[in-house]
Amino acid sequence: MKDDNKPISRKAFMQELRSYRNGSITRRHFMGVTGLGTAMAVMGGTMPAFLPSRARAQEIGDRVVLATWPNYHDPANFDKFAEMTGAYSQVNVFGSNEEMLAKIQAGGSGWDVFVPTNYAIPTYVDADLIEPLDLSKIPNYDAAAFDPRFAEAGTINGTVYAVPKNWGTTGIAFNSDKTGGVVDSWKTFFDGARDQFDGRVMVHDYQLTTIGNALVYHGFSFNSVDPAELAQAEKLLIDVKPHLYAISSDYQPAMRNGDAWLTMCWTGDGKQMHTDIPEIGFALGKEGGEIWSDYYAIPKDAPHKEAAYALINFLLDPEVNKAEALAHGYPVADSRTNAMLPEELLNDPILYPAAEELDALEFGAAVTLTDPNRAELMARFKSA
């Protein structure tokens, strides 16, 4: 890590490769760029004959299809679910909320459960694409145990459409060896990109966060769709573009090998990189930025609805959820689960920042998901 000018040794290469495989598949966009979200991991047995209980299998069917984000579950939990219910989980990994919406909109996605982020839920409800949840089938969901901030986006006009999974933030990951210390403002992020960090900064290939944080730089709302404010964000982005290392949400490999020094970063990636490479830190932009919460929901056309309810209920079991959290490293909103998590995780400033640090952050707004101006701005930025 220290000396970038030495050619890579065979051992170091293997190390890179391993950490790359561990961490490179970042949460949202990698799949979008590469496999168009078709990358698919089949977990559990694909052979019904191997399933433990044929009898129980008939109650909920022998399979359930889950569309989720990369590195967001404990694979052992799916085995456990198959053992308990006879239904194996087929897991599809996706790159962005937009991509998930595109699949569901096109119809026949075949998904039973999917994991939308807070700001996407109103669009699904408006378009009549998701099922109002029958909470009697999800007894493990205890609304009282959840911080309302991370649960309320699942309820629209008094109807519960989605129950919370995990939450997190979008902040800044920095390599303190190179940046000379903590970078905790979007001002330093974007100004430094054109100055002392020239050629070493990455932004997401994702309109919500890239445009959002450029807006925050100017003191506007992360969610603005005001044309005048968007124009200023665009000017900043296009001005910065020639100095960027990359526009990509697959930032872990470049950060890990020292090519990139600064990147927009989601909580879990920040945690993973910091654990492996202590000099990579994670900070929230003090001007603001994004806080988000992911949810479980069931598409209207889900082919295995009973299995969908069973899987959501299973994953919300605090014991199961604890294993999930230990595997993926994203913060949990369920106080019952948090009570079981190790102290050092709960005190980890990356996962659970001080409450006042979250004050400046904003939840993404539904309008950003479908606003055509933001989409076109992003296209102009990328093709500039």
């Binding site: 000018n5 290469f13 090519d259 296209a379 102009r380």
Partner: protein, 285 residues
Amino acid sequence: MAMTPSRARGLLLTPAGLWYAALLLLPLAVVLIFSFGERSPIGGYAPGFTFAQYANLPARFAAFRNTLTLAPIGTLAALLIAYPLAYFLAVKVTPKWKTLLLVLVIVPFWTSILIRSYAWIFLLGGKGIPALLAHLGLEDIRLLNTPFAVLVGIVYGYLPLMVFPIYVALEKLDKRLLEASADLGTPPWRSFLQITLPLSMPGVLTGCMLVFILLMGEFLIPAILGGGKVFFVGNALVDLFLQSRNWAFGSAVAVALVVVMLVVVALYSRAVKRFGATRDDTGLM
């Protein structure tokens, strides 16, 4: 029961007709219909009849410009590298080695282009070739996430498609022509220019066409090796369909790409025909 010849012909053509209808016309018709529609407020497609999507095409001008710049350069670079390789394989190598070397050209195809492009991230990244160059005193060379990296990826990815048609053309070359030419005192470089090169032109033209057409639709290599900063029409399409979900505009861009390709291919085959004509006229054969 005898069939009239025309009926028999009709029946025999049915499979091909169905094939065209289902695999070519139908999807194309959907794209065409979508391109006159609108983006629904939440994204996706809303029926309509408007030319608005086509009027908006200049918004993707940069993507077309980038593609139309890098695709010909990539094709040319692939040709310059593929020709000597194909020549070597077809003319110079002994039969014993030929099969092995040919297989080696194909072997990379057995792995996904995605994986192979990722391998280039390591080679072109800070700890790969730039680190070696730094040893030679060339400090701070950035290769990854530049148009150059995209070009390298393109040439690497499509090289076999260029090598094989040229190889086949050279393989068929009648060696007696070269012997006769040598007997008549022609120096080898002139024999190459007057015999080998013209006779391998069909392979060259096929290879260029194959590579160029595929490059026009490329999106993976620019995304991976260009670091998202090099934006092709293919990337614009992926974003329009999967991110902004503007299917109507995406369809219009797709139709525009088809039209651009048709024009380019038409110009190309006209040039090729003229080339063939002059060749006959000059009696080069």
